[in-house]
Symmetry: C2
Subunit: 345 residues, 2 copies
């Protein structure tokens, strides 16, 4: 039996906040740093990590996925679902990921650091996500022993991760801020509060579908709680502003907003081919429609579609590598069929 | 009981040819020419014309509409439905129109000439339409006596109508010719064959919704049959070319054509407001979809919408003068509701 996937649940502020993520960068003290390890040592690291997890209570709900056994399609699909990073997918040496049944937790092995622990949750849920990440963290510290320095904190390959080794982020859907041209100001204000804004797939990726990832820039000199509180505080302000602008546009032109939302529904239900960027834009309109009570849609149901419409997941679900035009067709097919599944209209 | 309106039937080549129209310009010999008549004389002309028609067999199916008793909205709505000309709607002196129950025949009284007889038919139907126009014509010639000259033919106010006094036209939907940028060539070739191309509301109007009216330019020196044959011949060539291009685009990119058609359906079924120009464009896509067998739509059912979506008919059906934004809302409402009525999807 498959556990219910994390992204099918709706979370706090789920109409704006797609997800919260906490990630820890960790290295095992008894191994040389990644890049200085032999393939054999790396394979031992993988096997030891898996064993360590299996000894713990939560370990029963994980499976080990060996990157060298995966097709490039399967790896790309995992990247699209935010389970692994592009670096892990593309790396050359032995590497693997442990994935929880509900896909909310993953442990990348031999990415930039020995371990990259990640916990995802729907909506805005910083504290609980941090809590769960710590539970996972303790398992490996106990079983394997982390490289830790009293002054520098967790030792990481890249100095920007020193200290807590933690990156906490929220994925926000901000079409109203974009439309009001306030997004630039919001991003720079977030920068002043120590946060970085990125696109949907992290560093260097574009903010497709009005989706922005906000994460802490600094890991050294603050406690995990301080960093998490700061992020949550800023996120709540951004979400509130997005809500205000959405409501304001509804008040000033209800019919215009309804028109946009319903046209998006009409196109999603009838188009015969669609590219990713249009799909994300239209799903964004549906999300806004749900947020404003125009559509009786559960935003949680929309999260899954954010990656289900992407190239590799479309190919994976088709069982073969699809050409761009085949993907456009399959994407439209998928979206036409969501009436019963993912949003009621 | 209301007779079934002419535009609800589908005609020959109905997927490209919306309608055929024959119009006769006639003057009654015993009256001074229009413009030189007193209002009293004009009112006598109106009453005599109505009486003449009522004596004939077909006269039972006509009603007299006095322009001076109509609101400007009602007059504009009649123009949109092609029952009267803008000149009749806007003229200052007494004027009227006799309209058949099915709206296929009308007799404008005191437009540019004493009488303007008009017969409309769905699809390409030149010969039968000419035949029906002649039957109507005979009624007034017999009862009132036309101004006729052996050499000049029917005497009309404007010399461009001398001779037969006949204007025959077809309304063609030519989106594929437009898209292939062949429309300019087609119009100039038609010009070489003595035909003029105009927009949906005649002289000076734009070719909205890819709709073009082709009519004879010359009325003197040819018989009615010659002019009609010529028009039909050219129309058939244009229609054939439009069909060829539609089929060709289907062959080269079936999915793309289907995508456009179904997106149009989706937008028509879900939009909350829509302007006339978008409505005509989307209804045009539906017409093409029906033409190519993508939609099981009867093109005859679409003809009515060509004027039902227009400003004055929308206001008239609402029972009051609507503002532009109210019209956009009502137009979208009308189009959302057509599933059962006018095209099945």
């Amino acid at each position: 039996m498959t556990a219910e996937r994390w992204y099918r649940r709706s979370g706090d502020e789920g109409d704006v906040c797609v997800s919260t993520r906490v990630r820890f960068a960790r290295n095992i003290s008894k191994y040389p740093f990644p890049g200085r390890m032999s393939d054999d040592a790396t394979r031992r690291l993988i096997s030891e990590t898996a064993t360590a997890l299996s000894k713990s209570e939560i370990g029963a709900h994980f499976r080990l996925v060996d990157m060298e056994q995966c097709s490039s399609l399967e790896r790309a699909a995992l990247v699209e679902r935010h389970i692994i990073s592009p670096d892990l997918a593309e790396g050359g040496s032995p590497r693997a990921v442990l994935i929880s049944d509900d896909e909310s937790m993953s442990v990348m092995i031999n990415e930039e650091d020995h371990l990259r622990l990640q916990v995802l949750a729907p909506g805005l849920d910083v504290k609980k996500t941090l809590e769960r990440a710590r539970q996972l963290d303790e398992v490996f510290d106990r079983e394997l022993g982390y490289a830790f320095d009293e002054k520098l904190g967790y030792l990481t390959k890249c100095p920007t991760n020193l200290g807590t080794g933690m990156r906490v982020s929220v994925m926000l859907h901000l079409p109203a801020l974009e439309e009001a041209r306030e997004i630039g100001g919001v991003i720079s204000a977030a920068g002043g509060a120590g946060l970085t804004a990125r696109g949907i797939y992290g560093e260097g990726s574009a903010a497709e579908g009005s989706l922005y990832q906000f994460s802490n820039r600094i890991t050294l000199g603050y406690t995990e709680e301080e960093v998490c509180d700061r992020l949550e505080q800023v996120a709540r302000q951004i979400i509130e502003r997005e809500h205000t602008l959405r409501r304001r546009s509804l008040e000033s032109d209800r019919e215009g907003v309804e028109d946009r939302v319903w046209r998006a529904v009409g196109t999603l239900k009838y188009a015969r081919r669609m590219d990713t960027s249009e799909a994300l834009r239209l799903l964004g309109e549906v999300r806004v429609g749900a947020s404003l009570g125009i559509l009786p849609t559960d935003c949680g149901r929309l999260n899954e579609l954010l990656w289900a419409v992407r190239a590799s997941n479309l190919s994976l679900s088709a069982g073969k590598e699809l050409s761009p035009s085949e993907r456009d067709r399959r994407r439209a097919e998928l979206l036409r069929g969501i009436e019963e599944g993912s949003f009621k209209i």
